[in-house]
């Protein structure tokens, strides 16, 4: 899927992906690719600005660990992130339903 299309929904995708389990950026990306059946193939560098922004907004928190001698930052959903995800999901479902109705109506 075109990355421009995905960017508008990236926050919801990241929050949803992290709801299941805390993860570092690379693992988030892998999960996104897997859960979408390979449809969501973002330029990898694009998820970090989003993760950082969501963290600054209080929707994610992070902590570091050491993995193979490297510093690894693990992100997790905060309660505010949980609420935001829920709201964004509702918004998306309404939008998707509206799109589907419109496309069906036009045959």
């Amino acid at each position: 899927m075109r990355s421009e299309l995905l960017k508008g929904h990236l926050d919801l995708l990241l929050l949803t992906t992290l709801r299941a389990q805390p993860a570092h950026g690379y693992a988030v990306l892998q999960r996104l690719t897997e859960s979408s059946g390979g449809e969501f193939d973002l330029p990898e560098g694009t998820i970090y600005p989003a993760l950082h922004r969501l963290e600054r907004g209080g929707l994610l928190s992070s902590q570091t660990s050491v993995h193979r001698g490297r510093t690894r930052r693990i992100y997790r959903l905060t309660p505010a992130g949980e609420r935001a995800m829920s709201g964004k999901r509702t918004e998306w479902e309404r939008f998707a339903a509206g799109m589907a109705r419109t496309l069906d109506a036009r045959g």
Binding site: Y26, G45, Y48, G57, T71
Partner: protein, 188 residues
């Protein structure tokens, strides 16, 4: 020095693009390095890992922190703060009386994008009107969020990019359709 290591060379490029004084530089570089080296651990070549990560300058631009909380403007008993993001953000430079920004108004959450935020006596304001350089005005209802540690105040945070605004020329606060505070901006 990066030598023949494409990942080290890439990190140098990102580092240069971020700039020496970027507050999150070390964290960002560590995070990117972990990502790239993990891909190499998973049998991808370093060159391919770097290629798939994206252009260093574009990655750095995406990770640029808001350039500044530009100014605090006192207008009609209101304190209006305009925060400008980096590339692609709202870019306004208010003229006139300015003071240093009271960061406590940000509630400790930091800045994740271009915001307009106001405090001190905002309860009367119900709408915010933004006029861009082409003279188009859009009006937004003001959502309220409590300001941490400032229980007597409320603040409004509005990420203008989410409503498709990337420049503003004039800003007005309204109550009941009446403008009671206005601020003109000169694009920086």
């Amino acid at each position: 020095m990066s030598g023949d290591d494409p990942i080290a060379a890439y990190l140098e490029r990102v580092s240069r693009a971020l700039g020496r004084w970027h507050p999150g530089r070390r964290r960002i570089l560590a995070e990117i390095e972990d990502h790239l080296r993990e891909k190499v651990d998973a049998d991808q070549t370093a060159e391919e890992a770097v290629r798939r990560f994206g252009d260093a300058a574009e990655v750095a631009a995406g990770l640029a922190r808001p350039t500044a909380v530009r100014r605090r403007i006192t207008a009609g008993g209101l304190a209006v703060i305009v925060a400008a993001a980096g590339a692609g953000g709202v870019d306004c430079e208010p003229p006139g009386r300015t003071r240093a920004v009271d960061m406590s108004l940000l509630g400790g959450s930091g800045l994740g994008g271009p915001f307009i935020l106001y405090g001190t006596a905002p309860r009367a304001a119900t709408e915010l009107a933004i006029t861009d350089a082409e003279g188009r005005t859009r009006t937004f209802a003001l959502p309220r969020v409590p300001v941490r540690g400032e229980s007597s105040r409320q603040a409004v945070i509005l990420d203008l990019t989410t409503v498709g605004i990337h420049s503003c020329h004039r800003l007005a606060l309204l109550a009941g359709g009446r403008v009671f505070a206005r601020q003109q901006f000169i694009p920086a």
